[in-house]
């Protein structure tokens, strides 16, 4: 993959950051980044050459399994690309690649990484083998320190260096051999015939648990090697424990509570207490016997070890106490937060988008893009009701643990569609009069005035 010339991009990078400074003062509105690469053909060629190279290296005995998995990976990536599931923001790309390169150089590694910024708001990063990495925008929102990101990238590089993808494929090939053996199949059929279904279920359950144990062992290895990689860069190793601790918290939830009444009250359409009124549930939600225990043991199904265990293990490898990092703030947090909100809205997760907008407005009450996002989320929910797609857009009432997130869901579930449209219009009209120059609010208001598109009318 051709390296991005940092020098050439520097003016742009600083330009973008400058825009952010201005945006913070309410003068320039956030504009979502492009989901289309500057040179699609170049990117597709890069992916294709990595796929061909991986295929060529596949062991003869397991070629079929390798070919299938590599094909799935290749086509999956192309689908994500076509589905506009990656963000191509040159500034972010430069920033992330610089951290990767620092680790690679410090550890004299050889990969030529292909890093894609995924639109998913989930705080995660993936190593797909052959130097392909996906960094979710949700991770960039959560990790506000450069060293924290460095540990995650070091961890993913460790997966790549330890060829964990291929170890997984080898394990799959071995399992396929086992399941394909005539004796094994004969024993299974016999057990089913004799009604010993629980025995068969137990054996199959053990196979699944075995795979997950394998996966958890890989994570422990990647944590250890990742920590070594991080140390070589001279970064404080304490960033590792700090990062894992942050990942343990759900980044979706706000630290401050949101007063929905205050946030959405408009003089022309006052907030109604009924919208957020707690539902009176049958027996308070619990009656008689509760559901029996699941067949699956939740812990045994984990692909990753519990974060508490990982933190303890990483801490035991450190010779220093916890630190607050080296104080290099990660500059793309605000951008990532907004991209996460955009991503939610693009995927139709309107309750998530609304909650994110309200959460960010707590920090930046004059951000016109966020006010527009509130209106857009309400309008999209109205459209979902019209299209009978509401359940895909708004999760069940008890989906979130956080009381404020629950309240947002409850409001969207209890507010009538006519009230929602009314509130959306009143809210945007109010913000338009307060921020007359905002293009984002103007556009959202115009759409709200058009109303919802009815397939039935």
């Amino acid at each position: 993959m051709p390296r991005i010339n940092l020098r050439r991009l520097r003016p742009f990078l600083f330009g973008h950051l400058l825009l952010w400074v201005v945006a913070a003062h309410g003068q320039v509105e956030f504009v979502p980044s492009s989901c289309v690469p500057a040179d699609s053909l170049l990117l597709i060629r890069n992916l294709d050459s990595r796929y061909q190279l991986a295929l060529a290296e596949a062991p003869v005995a397991s070629r079929e399994i390798y070919a299938e998995a590599l094909m799935d990976r290749h086509e999956g990536l192309l689908d994500l690309l076509r589905g506009e599931q990656f963000l191509f923001e040159p500034g972010v790309q430069v920033y992330v690649e610089a951290i990767f390169q620092e680790i690679i150089r410090a550890n004299q590694l050889e990969p030529d990484p292909l890093i894609l910024i995924g639109r998913s708001p989930t705080a995660n990063a993936l190593s797909l083998g052959n130097g392909i990495f996906i960094i979710n925008v949700g991770l960039l929102e959560l990790l506000s320190d450069r060293q924290e990101l460095a540990f995650v990238f070091a961890h993913e590089l460790a997966h790549d260096q330890l060829r964990h993808l291929y170890a997984k494929l080898d394990a799959r090939a071995a399992l396929s051999d086992q399941l394909g053996q005539r004796e094994f199949r004969r024993q299974m059929k016999k057990a089913i015939r004799k009604g010993r279904t629980e025995e068969v279920a137990g054996q199959l359950q053990e196979i699944v648990y075995g795979q997950r144990r394998h996966s958890r062992a890989h994570e422990v290895e990647a944590d250890s090697l990742g920590l070594l990689f991080l140390r070589s860069t001279g970064a404080p190793a304490a960033a590792a424990g700090q990062t894992l601790a942050k990942l343990k918290t759900d980044p979706f939830y706000a630290t401050d509570s949101i007063d929905l009444h205050r946030a959405l009250h408009v003089a022309d359409y006052p907030f109604k207490a009924r919208w957020v009124k707690e539902e009176d549930l049958l027996f308070g939600g619990e009656f008689g016997e509760q559901e029996s225990e699941s067949f699956w043991d939740h812990d045994s199904l984990r692909t990753h070890p519990a974060l508490d265990d990982r933190i303890l293990r990483v801490d035991s490898l450190l010779d220093t106490g916890p630190s607050d990092g080296d104080g290099q703030p990660q500059p793309w947090v605000e951008w990532a937060a907004r991209e996460c909100a955009e991503s939610y809205l693009a995927e139709g997760a309107t309750a998530h988008a609304l909650y994110t907008a309200l959460k960010l407005l707590q920090r930046r009450p004059d951000d016109t893009y966020l006010h527009a996002l509130v209106g857009r989320s309400l309008l999209a929910t109205c459209q979902a009701i019209e299209d009978h797609d509401f359940d895909r857009c708004v999760p069940p009432p008890r989906y979130f643990d956080d009381p404020v997130a629950r309240q947002v869901v409850r409001m969207l579930r209890q507010m009538r569609s006519s009230e929602m449209l009314h509130l959306c219009r009143a809210y945007l009209a109010d913000k338009q009069s307060r921020y007359p120059g905002s293009r984002a609010i103007q556009t959202a208001f115009a759409k709200a005035q058009e109303g919802i598109i009815s397939a039935k009318d």
């Binding site: 549930l281 027996f283 016997e289 509760q290 009701i385 009978h388 359940d391 209890q414 569609s417």
Partner: protein, 501 residues
């Protein structure tokens, strides 16, 4: 109903006529229907409010001939609340469940043992009390299901307890004289319970059903008929002190100039509002066409304060062409399915049009009416849907008049109407219509009309064309509950659909 005679059918209609009260939409999937049998499902109400749904399924128990029953409860969002497991034989079913904020009342029927009883359960699923009821043929689940699908619930939650309504018979035969048994079952097993029954010496056939209640008064309608085939039918309202069981008054709607078939009531402060359809002075209910809607206001002592009427001919005549027989052009005869009186005295009525020919009944469009407290027609909503013709399976049906045939069609669930559900300040009416679709497989659609601030808003939900059976249940404000059964996968899906309103 396949082999039943017109006599039996008419008897069914007779009871249906008595018991027709005011018919007053996450996802949950039951995919293990290969190993369990879904016996009964239904809604759990507290007053007019839908508090959840119940699903009763059973599988073979450990002992021979024993069944293990699981009564599973879900809340108004279809979230599991819990379950209660109990043993029984193969003939147990639940015919109604109600919730009054403190306890759950479950009405169970054992057709083999010929027993019927109400079990009160607390939040832990423990039995608080058991009240044995008189078992009759009308406790049979099939009959009970037909009644509940028409909006009649044998159990109603009232402050401090539950009301239970049973139809009794002197003999086991379905032809024998019927009577009513009204019971108040208090939450506290040591509390005052009471029972009112038909007079043993009565000459008439009788039946009763729940209308409305508050902390002090419970209103029930009592229907009477001289004989099984008698054309004379009367409806009275019986008011009883909820705490003591003492009869407060009987409002003789039967003695009014125009016969009124009361189907809904509401108690609002000092006022009691009764509503229904009225007939001409010499007309007979069931046989003749109703003339219009009636609203009667009483004080709490049963004294009549006001009568208001809305003539179909005069009011609907302004919106539709009507012939001399009172039929609406393009819609035909009108069958009232649901009537709701709001506390301020506004009335919402849901009806469907039908025409008849020989044994054939054609179900047509629906009409929804909204009347202000002065009984002035404010809004008429004409809901167009695909028409459908059903052939009545009753012998001799061709000899009956159109209204009788209409009631016969109603008794076998031939109409599209599903329910009328009042919620706070909205009323939702739902119909399940089989659509003929161009260029694609025909299928069912749910049509809903929601009345809010005096205006109706329509919505339409196309159901999965692969489902083998579908039904629609009332739900909380702004939703409809849709249940679809997939025979091939032996799967039952229940989901809430959000409504535009």
């Amino acid at each position: 109903m396949k082999n039943s005679s017109i006599l039996q059918t008419l008897f069914g209609i007779f009871l249906l006529a008595f018991l027709l009260p005011p018919a007053t939409a996450q996802k949950r999937s039951f995919g293990d229907l290969e190993t369990v049998v879904m016996t009964s499902t239904g809604i759990i109400k507290s007053g007019d409010e839908v508090k959840g749904y119940y699903f009763l399924h059973h599988r073979k128990g450990d002992k021979r001939g024993e069944m293990e029953y699981v009564l599973q409860l879900v809340d108004q969002n279809l979230e599991p609340v819990g379950k209660k497991t109990f043993k029984g034989n193969n003939s147990l079913s639940v015919t109604s469940v109600a919730y009054n904020g403190d306890l759950l009342a479950v009405r169970l029927v054992d057709t083999e043992e010929e027993k019927s009883w109400v079990q009160l359960l607390d939040s832990e699923g423990k039995s608080v009390d058991r009240t044995t009821l008189s078992y009759t043929i009308y406790d049979h689940p099939q009959y009970a299901e037909s009644m509940t699908s028409q909006g009649y619930f044998p159990l109603a939650a009232v402050p401090g307890g539950f009301m239970s309504y049973s139809t009794t018979t002197a003999k086991k035969s379905a032809m024998s004289k019927t009577g009513y048994e009204i019971r108040f079952i208090p939450n506290d097993p040591e509390g005052k319970s009471w029972k009112l029954s038909s007079n043993e010496d009565r000459e008439e056939f009788e039946a009763a059903g729940f209308l409305a209640a508050d902390e002090n008064i419970v209103l029930s309608f009592v229907g009477r008929r001289d004989g099984l085939m008698s054309r004379a039918m009367y409806f009275d309202v019986l008011a009883v002190d909820l705490q003591t069981g003492k009869e407060l008054f009987t409002y003789r709607a039967s003695e009014m100039e125009n016969t009124v078939w009361l189907t809904d009531a509401t108690v609002s402060g000092d006022r009691i509002l009764l509503g229904g359809q009225y007939f001409g002075p010499d007309d007979k209910m069931i046989k003749d066409r109703p003339q219009g809607l009636a609203l009667i206001e009483l004080d709490r002592s049963g004294k009549e304060k006001k009568e208001s009427y809305l003539s179909y001919e005069q009011s609907l005549g302004k919106h539709f062409e009507m012939d001399s027989k009172g039929r609406v052009e393009g819609i035909g005869n009108l069958m009232l399915h649901g009537l709701h009186i709001t506390p301020d005295g506004s009335v919402v009525a849901a009806m469907e049009g039908f025409t008849t020919f020989n044994k054939l009944v054609t179900i047509k469009d629906a009409l929804l009416l909204y009347l202000d407290p002065t009984m002035k027609l404010q809004t008429v909503e004409h809901l167009e849907k695909d028409q459908r013709t059903v052939e009545l399976p009753m012998k001799g049906a061709a000899l009956a008049g159109p209204m009788v045939l209409g009631f016969a069609a109603k008794s076998i669930g031939a109409f599209d109407f599903s329910y009328m559900q009042p919620n706070e300040d909205v009323v939702t009416v739902s119909f399940l219509n089989f659509e003929r679709r161009k260029g694609e497989k025909n299928g069912l659609s749910v049509y809903t009309c929601t009345l809010l601030d005096g205006a109706f808003t329509r919505d339409k939900i196309r159901l999965d064309s692969d489902s083998d059976r579908a039904s629609v249940f009332p739900s909380k404000d702004g939703y409809v509950m849709v249940m679809e059964y997939f025979a091939k996968e032996k799967r039952l899906d229940a989901r809430l659909e959000r409504l535009r309103m």
